[in-house]
């Protein structure tokens, strides 16, 4: 029996020596000490810091950034994805006062987004049920 692997990890590195593993774009490599989020306080600007989110891309980055911009205690919020081949984001947040830390603001933004997603889930199920009811006569 000949064995052909379609997408198996063990063969991949020998066939295409330079190509990184596809799964590296979303799987955290805990064995080599990768952490999901690290934080560095900004030394030159007050009340600011940079979060490095590992194994994330515009899907989360843009969402978090736009939600942070809605918060009045955020003076600056921006993210960048440095290169398509490296899988991390830098998210810079600066708050207006020193009473509020960037981590708090980020926490609150994630919570708001989570509630929005919950709201969407109920909306979708209600909407589907309603559509089914309205179109029952066609079945």
């Amino acid at each position: 029996a000949i064995r052909v692997d379609d997408n198996d990890d063990s063969n991949k590195n020998s066939n295409k020596m330079n190509a990184p593993e596809r799964a590296a774009s979303f799987l955290l490599d805990e064995d080599s000490g990768e952490v999901k989020i690290t934080y560095a306080t900004d030394t030159k600007v007050s009340n600011a810091g940079t979060f490095t989110l590992n194994k994330e891309d515009h899907t989360m980055g843009n969402l978090l950034r736009m939600q942070l911009l809605r918060d009045p205690s955020v003076r600056f919020a921006g993210y960048y994805h440095p290169h398509p081949l490296v899988h991390y984001l830098d998210l810079k947040i600066q708050t207006t006062t020193s009473n509020v830390s960037p981590a708090e603001v980020l926490s609150s933004a994630i919570e708001d987004l989570s509630n929005e997603a919950d709201h969407l889930i109920t909306q979708v199920s209600d909407s589907i049920d309603q559509w089914r009811k309205e179109n029952e006569n066609q079945f």
């Binding site: 000949i2 692997d5 799987l27 989020i37 979060f51 736009m66 708090e104 929005e116 909407s127």
Partner: protein
Amino acid sequence: ITVILFFCNPYPNYTKMPHQRFPKIQILSLASHEIKFVLSDTDTSMANTLRRIMIGEVPTLAIDLVEIHENSTVLNDEYIAHRLGLIPIRYQAPDSLRGGDVHGAFLSHRECVCYERCPRCSVEFELEVDYDTVNPARQAQDGAGGEDDEEDHEVMAPLTITSKDLKSNNEYVTPAHFLHQDEQDESQDDGIALVKIGPGQRLKLKAIARMGISKEHAKWCPVAVATYRFWPIITINDDACSTLTAEQKQELVDVCPDRILEYDEQVSGNITVAEDAWDTATYTEDLRVTQNMMKKRPEDEDFLSVEPSTDKFIFNVETTGAMDAEEILMASLRVLKDKLNYMAQEVEKVRDMNM
């Protein structure tokens, strides 16, 4: 001073609800393979995130490993393995309402505790087709040949090996052969064509399907199309329009290739918006260019304007057959929630470290 504040109230939650959005969804049409809906009262970032998750991060099943025992077909081993990987595989538990969602039914093979593979993280398919075994039955059907059986130049029609020939070891998992009945009626084959064989050719293989996401390989993508467009906001300045003649109004209505405007001189004498304008508008330049020519001075007000909305989106999602369209929407919201929860936990860890 900052330290004292944190000591009294470790996580002062100063903003609870005010910045949350409350989006609305309205379904335009719903079939098992396609869903069209309008998402409103939310930002482009949420619409784009939903689109990206639907395309890239909803887990599905697809063939990942292929053991080829015999292949005397005209296609080589890896070609056939590639084609097998692209077949959409559907999981349908009979007593559940979930149309194809594999969440909770299977584990990712990286997380499964088994040695290599087990029924919990994978599904096995077997395929064995031999032209010469199948053919005697087919020859009997070719009664129209008649005396031709003795002739040497009688051409034996090739046999198509399709996705119907894959036999699964899990009764709830089968390949999705067709999207809907119309497609099946139009097709010449019984399923997705894999390879055509002739006399003396055989194909025997075992294929193992595993769960994955499209970011790893496009074969795991549950959607064929997942797009959104912006709802057009068409405003007509009636005061400015009243300065136009009837011919000018008719010209404005006719110049737009999407036909988003209507003008009936007898009925109202005003330009109105067509009823299906939201569906057909594509933000062409024609209206703007024609208006600028009609204005007496360039700084006059516009007669009408068509702008894309910033918070209302028309989504169109078409599946490959592996999951139902509404399931993809629900699954993408669930994946979004899981990602946000994971983020929230990790941010808490960072806050604890920095205290």
